[in-house]
Symmetry: C2
Subunit: 244 residues, 2 copies
DNA sequence: CGTAAAATTGAGCTGTCTCAATCAATGTGG
DNA sequence: CCACATTGATTGAGACAGCTCAATTTTACG
């Protein structure tokens, strides 16, 4: 049996999707794969766990009972090295799995740190896997997400290994821009951007001091503008050139 | 139906494993998951395609008909950037899938370059996926491999972002050492090591010139010894310290 | 409104790169 | 099986991207 969420049953939301019996409708909604029925209530925040800004939500090497999805707020997945340094592996935006790896493994090999305040919900691994077994489409969606994640990781490797500070930062901004765009979250020519320079530094393998200098370069070149936790890209072409 | 290759049918090799009908026995053998039956012939080299050293085997953005497994020889998966630089994402050793991503996606987003001469065999994606559907164990093995790959990618990100040249190189040597160890391929205290300094440079995001200097440092500190495409680790403890 | 977190700025330093030349090894064709 | 051609390794001198340290200012938030 094949179900295409948001296609075969667009009118009724998840109410008659195959996942219903599994209690997984909310997964799809939280993951942004299924819009709630127009007349329906937004899924209640029950089960949701709130987290404060800048807290570590899950610790490196922790074994998790389920698969967490960030519902609101931004987070990062990062590695904390023995030398005390930290490297951000990915930015986790609302509606995303913390790592797709957790679909196939219970142990977290990295740390999840909150950027902003927010909330997450944890889904049962067995149920998710059952869902994948039942519906090839669900399965494919998860695998696509996994491949996506992997793609970004590979990009990041190339960036860190072979690109200059300017290029790395430009690419980070563009990556986030692109993801927001894909999610239809562009407002005029600006997006929500709650990352602080510390995060940019940890994501690009640079120092906060140097990040500040590069970004001020961008600003004085009228490429970007930051204000109130949002980012406006003024000259996306030039930024793309720097990111090339 | 559950089959555990190499456990439930260890005596007969793959001859009565569930994959037989699918013609996939050789996959398991080539992947090192199944030993051929003692009395059996080694799987014939038919279907194998040879490649020369230093050649690009598959090109970035190529769409592949199947999933290639390296049978003999070493290769690298790498990204070639627009600025002409190259970054190695992973070292592919004999018996490994070129990338697990290809299990779920036909397009190659990176380039596969040979290190040594060798050969590969390509498996049909549909068949592999059928195999995964039939046997949860096969499925799990592939997913474990995928997670493994992912793990190394994450490590690499942390290395490139937050570790010094010495640390990166030490870790690369130890990673390869560890993988050979796992495969039971340690001979005395040395392993096969066909990588040239160019590869080490491209894998660690450094310059060949600097790699040479660091490695000579290791040599004069009596940590390692290179000879005839093999690596001997003389002081693994000290090397681990450098890699910390 | 006060305190903690974040950003900025400047001066000086260093790990790694570039360039360039030389030497060693490896492979190839005759 | 040798000689040449290619690829890889080494070495040194100089340059610079990005770092450290440290002080100051600005912003965020309970």
């Amino acid at each position: 049996m094949t179900v295409t969420p948001g296609q075969s049953a667009p009118k009724t939301g998840c109410s008659n999707c195959v996942m219903r019996g599994l209690g997984l409708c909310t997964v799809l909604i939280d993951l942004g794969w299924e819009r709630p029925y127009a007349g329906e209530q937004q899924p209640v925040a029950q089960n949701k766990t709130a987290f404060a800004a800048r807290r570590t939500i899950f610790h490196q090497n922790q074994t998790l009972a389920g698969v967490p999805v960030i519902c609101e707020g931004w987070a990062t997945s990062l590695m904390k090295l023995s030398n005390g340094r930290r490297q951000i592996l990915s930015i986790v935006m609302p509606g995303e799995l913390v790592t797709c790896r957790l679909l196939f493994e219970r142990q977290l090999h990295l740390s999840i740190d909150a950027v902003t305040r927010g909330s997450y919900r944890t889904f049962d691994l067995a149920q998710l896997r059952a869902a994948m077994t039942v519906s090839p489409d669900i399965f494919d969606k998860f695998l696509l997400s996994y491949n996506d994640e992997r793609n970004r990781a590979d990009q990041l490797i190339a960036d860190l290994g072979r690109r200059t500070a300017t290029g790395r930062i430009a690419r980070l901004l563009l990556e986030i821009w692109g993801r927001q765009e894909k999610a239809g979250k562009i407002d005029g020519n600006s997006i929500e951007f709650p990352l602080r320079q510390t995060h940019i530094a940890d994501a690009t393998g640079l120092t906060t001091v140097y990040v500040s200098k590069v970004i001020n370069g961008f600003r004085s070149g009228s490429l970007v503008e930051f204000s109130d936790r949002s980012l406006k890209i003024l000259d996306i072409e030039k930024l793309r050139q720097l990111a090339a």
